[in-house]
């Protein structure tokens, strides 16, 4: 859907984007991650043609990105707002028409959406009379009203209570199912794992990680397991004696022990179990896969360290 080739963007004193390339597949939900000030917003603005890159190229659905594509993109910026004194209905009509939809069609679609989100009664209300969360809901509708092929959401859940966040999340998934490609920029890592197919991590204006969530997590598996077992009567099992793994955590609770271990590189889980099975009663074995949250923090802090060493 979107191919970004070697984008550079320099602001007078700092480099906002340094040779960033991304590939976003059609129909995917793509997580754009990174700490504050990493360059995410700059990248998003470039995709929206608000800013132009100094060099590099963007291919939108097989064509070089050009102004006409704006009508196929829906953008929910992080810094968002509405005209305070304008009525919701009028405002939505205006925003939809700016995206190239005829008035009658826009009005029909808005009503449809309002019904879906059960906010029909808001049509004649002014924005200043709505709560922050309510405004967010309206704004979400404004983002997708023109049925864009590419939806860019910058922190779409900020300001929502959990119930409404869930409603919006379902709508996002629904739109995705209908074929829309979604770029989801956020700091909220838990939602990344449930929503995203692929992610890119941007830090200090460089892309430092890209791939499918599955693959990334796979590559961050480091043979860490949590094993709970009960010792057989009388025999105390000295876990430490086995030189097969390193113990990260060891908890004794009643006659149940929970050990988190990291297996040495040349060994496998089977080797460990082979040793354990004759001696203890194994209740549960669980592989500890690092969460996106952990990966994010590890990657970002590591690159920071690298930077300071340089």
């Amino acid at each position: 859907m979107l191919k970004i080739h070697n984008i550079n963007k320099q602001y007078s004193t700092h480099r906002a984007l340094d040779d960033v390339s991304l590939t976003i597949h059609k129909g995917s939900i793509y997580g754009l991650l990174g700490p504050n000030g990493a360059g995410k917003t700059t990248l998003i603005r470039i995709i929206n043609q608000i800013n132009a890159p100094d060099s590099g190229e963007i291919i939108f659905d097989g064509e070089k990105l050009q102004p006409k594509h704006i009508e196929r993109i829906g953008y929910l910026p992080e810094e968002r707002g509405l005209y305070k004194k304008m009525k919701i209905g009028e405002q939505m009509l205006y925003l939809a028409q700016l995206k190239g939809i005829k008035k009658a069609e826009a009005s029909r679609r808005i009503k449809e959406w309002f019904e879906k989100l059960e906010i029909q009664s808001w049509w004649d209300k002014k924005v200043e009379d709505l709560s922050k969360g309510m405004q967010q809901k309206v704004q979400f509708v404004a983002t997708v009203i023109h049925k864009p092929d590419l939806i860019i959401l910058d922190e779409p859940f900020s300001g929502f209570d959990p119930v409404n966040a869930q409603i919006i999340q379902n709508e996002i998934l629904e739109l995705n199912k209908q074929g829309a490609t979604i770029i989801y920029s956020t700091h909220r890592m838990e939602s990344v794992e449930t929503l995203c197919d692929e992610i890119a991590l941007i830090n200090r204006s460089k892309k430092i990680l890209e791939g499918s969530v599955e693959n990334i997590k796979e590559s961050y598996r480091n043979q860490t397991y949590k094993i709970s077992y009960s010792e057989t009567e009388g025999t105390e099992f000295p876990l430490e004696e086995l030189a097969l793994f390193e113990i990260i955590e060891h908890i004794n609770r009643d006659n149940q022990t929970e050990a988190t271990i990291k297996i040495n590189n040349d060994k496998t889980l089977n080797d460990i179990l082979l040793q354990l099975i004759p001696k203890v009663k194994i209740n549960e074995v669980l592989e500890i896969i690092p969460s996106m949250h952990d990966i994010f923090i590890e990657k970002v802090t590591r690159s920071k360290n690298q930077y300071t060493i340089k």
Binding site: L82, Y83, Q97
Partner: protein, 437 residues
Amino acid sequence: MNKIFLVVNREYLSRVKKRSFLLTTFLVPLLFIGMYIGVFYLTKESFENSHAIVHVVDNSASISKSLTNNKNLTFTISSNELQNELDSLKDKTKNTNLLIIPEDFLQSRRVELLSSGKPNINTQSEIKSQLKEIIRTYEYSRMGLNIDSVKSVDDKVNISSKEISDTGDSKESHTEVAMGIAMSLSVLVYLSLFLYGAQVMRGIIEEKTSRVVEIIISSVKPFQLMMGKILGIGLVGLTQFLLWIILTAALTSLATALIFNVSGTTPEEISALTGANSQLSNDNPAFDIISVFNSINITELLVCFFIFFIGGYFLYSGLFAAVGSAVDSETEATQFTMPITMPLLLTYVLSFGVLINDPHGTIATWLSFIPFTSPIAMLVRVPFGVPTWQIIVSALLLFGGFLITTWVAARIYKVGILIYGKKASIKEIIKWFRYKQ
């Protein structure tokens, strides 16, 4: 293009529908009419109250006989003692005066006027001119001149001033009228450029602080948004002017009719009055209203007004837009609007002195060509008659200036609207201007 139209539409309707727009549109003409009526009544009042009674204590015994009563003054020769007169003066109603003529008046030429309230200027000058006449008569007869023949000398001179136009025709010119029109145009353009320029700025600051701007410019180009706003507000301005002109004209004629009805003047009396006036106007062409209006080319004036108002508005609103994009609040904006509006302020101030007194001088001519000052300077000059080529050149320069300021403003605007919470300095703004787009 279609999107600019949408923006214009929103900017226009959202303002025209506002209660404050309706309020100013209808209140301003009412204010004018109110002033008109107020002035009328005050003038009438002052005419009615200006009648004065003058008690004369004449020590020379002969002077008071020559004083004549007229519609403003009634003289009574007082036989009371001076002290009694002074005492009674304290209780008298206003406009009662005591004129004390000394014995040697014809030599000293000095009188005393005591008044119950503040001495009325009209009363004073009336008395003065009567006394002067007395002295003149006295002196003429002392020199042995025949008073009647002296008085019969007619020294009245009428200057009928005409200006020669390009075509060699002569037409009557009325400098005072031209001055009046020039001054009101200067005030009108100055105020409206400020008013609507500031509205553009405020609108942009509003979009910026409410953060709606980023949503909008993901659909339209920043330039389209800026131009849409400028055009929309410009149309609001034109609408307002049009409504003001129509309403003021309508209300004025209504008020005129009402005033004549209230004051109980019958149509016959009016026609008698105007008849008297036309009698007067034959003697004094300066009061011939038709000729006054003929001397000013109304069409030219209106066309120039709209050209230079619109040109000036575009020129300045672009700059106001740039300022609006650079700041987060209106208070912050003051430091930038000051330098921008300096040329306007300067011309405005100059227009009352230099430009009106010497509308074809070097300063006036230069100022009417520089785009930043020409909207006011040229309009001030137009009522005095400006060669058409000068108007065209000035309008073209103004248009060129507008293109340049808009280009500069758009570059700043593009960057500025997306920068939040950072205090912009002039240096910063220059940097924005230099950004690769």
